[in-house]
Amino acid sequence: MNKNIVATKVEQMQPSGIRVFFDLVLGMKDVISLGVGEPDFVTPWQIREAGITSLEEGFTSYTSNKGLYKLRLSISRYLKNKYGLEYSPDDEILVTVGVSEGIDLVLRTIVNPGDKILVPQPGYVSYGPVTELAGGIPVYIDTSKDGFKLTPENISRCIDKRTKGIILNYPVNPTGVSYTRKELEAIKKVLLKHDILCISDEIYGDLTYDFEHVSFPSLSGAKENTVYFNGFSKSFAMTGWRVGYACGPKAVIDAMTKIHQYTIMCVPITSQMAACEALQTGKRSVEEMKREYKRRREFVFSELNRIGFTCSKPQGAFYAFASVKKTGMHCMDFAKKLLEEQKVAVVPGTAFGGQFKDFVRISYASSFDNLKEAFSRMAACMADIRR
């Protein structure tokens, strides 16, 4: 084989530094994992049942590239009811293979070689690499001095004339931080002033605990300058079905659809049929799961601070980003010790940006029994370190 078989661009992509740690976790038995980035609930039965029924009825074909019309219509109505957003099911909504595909599409759609995309850190792992694949330059905004939040100031500092877009993700994976309307308004002002497209990944929006989630495009004047992303994975516990959607101005959605039709064709029809059911009847299940996450959040937040981590209270999603600074250990060494000695897995903070070596991400998408046991083991680990 030609030894230059892998393209330079891909060759140069940083392999995730914590792959080795992940492999360590996967190779170990009887681990209590607080390292999982997806709900511990199974998809509610009526949604699974709708998928099964669609198969029985013979729905096994392609759908329109943009997604089943009835799904786009349901999404349109759902967003209207929830946030007062008006997106036309005809040409302003595209059903994608999870939000991940949508983010890839929008970046490939808007980025010309050398364009810059602002990416907050800590943040979800894919934004930077996908920007690079699209030929853009990710400009990372370190939010750690601002309570892990984007602010007009830290954004403005990173803007130059090549800045084309910004990734806004809230509630944030891995910190659980979210934004109030006032904070979003301030961010909007800066973005509009510099004509920067807001790529708003609101996949955890339904899991906001202390206040109502405010959707970015619902702010006055923001919609035309925003591509909104949401999906079924987190709120409906449907990660494996891979259904998300992008909503935005017709021109952008049309362009994204061009790429989507050549690369993906369409989202599997079974998943789309199940997603329709989710929007029609899943509200109660979402509320139930949200209540459960909220209770776990209170427990986890109180336990973390009790046993010697430092952590501010997450406002959404199902993560806490806790500092292990007091232990004096690098997060990777801490995570390894916790795994090897106590069989509890967490994700080292460096996964979400190289500078977060004092942090670990703790996921509370785990049963209360598991959380209790995990925290008693973590307390033992902390006591051992102090000794």
Binding site: V25, V36, E38, D40, R296, E298, F299, V347, F368
Partner: protein, 161 residues
Amino acid sequence: MDEILEILEKDCRTTSEEIAKMLKKKPAEVKKAVSKYEKDGVILKYKAVINRELVRDSDNEVRALIEVNLIPQKDVGFDKIAERIYQFPEVSSCYLLSGTYDLLLIVRGKDIHTVSRFISEKLSPMENVRGVVTHFLLKKYKEDGVVLKQKEDDKRIAISY
């Protein structure tokens, strides 16, 4: 429903301290609420859900669902006669229903003879019982929201972003 009840209904072993943490209350506050629920009869009992099929050394147990037709009594309707029936220890559940019959009983006994004897000797001869139809239970799949199957392992990948 109060979240304290929701939590206890899911797992009654959850301590007041744990509930307090989950709901951001003081443990004393939770304890007080729980005592009041107990006193008012909202919380009646704390018990485990046992899958008897897996209990090898227990006496075999037979269950029957019995439809009972009653002659209602003046002034008290069905309540008095229902009480006379549900007091029997063999009766584990007793519901008054709308439809073609009046009471639905779930009756437990160590074998089919015990249950039959209860029906023929105790239940049927009661003066307000007009008739009974008995269904012996063959298999239980789900009871009070609990699927009677061992918990399955977590199917998720142990670590992910």
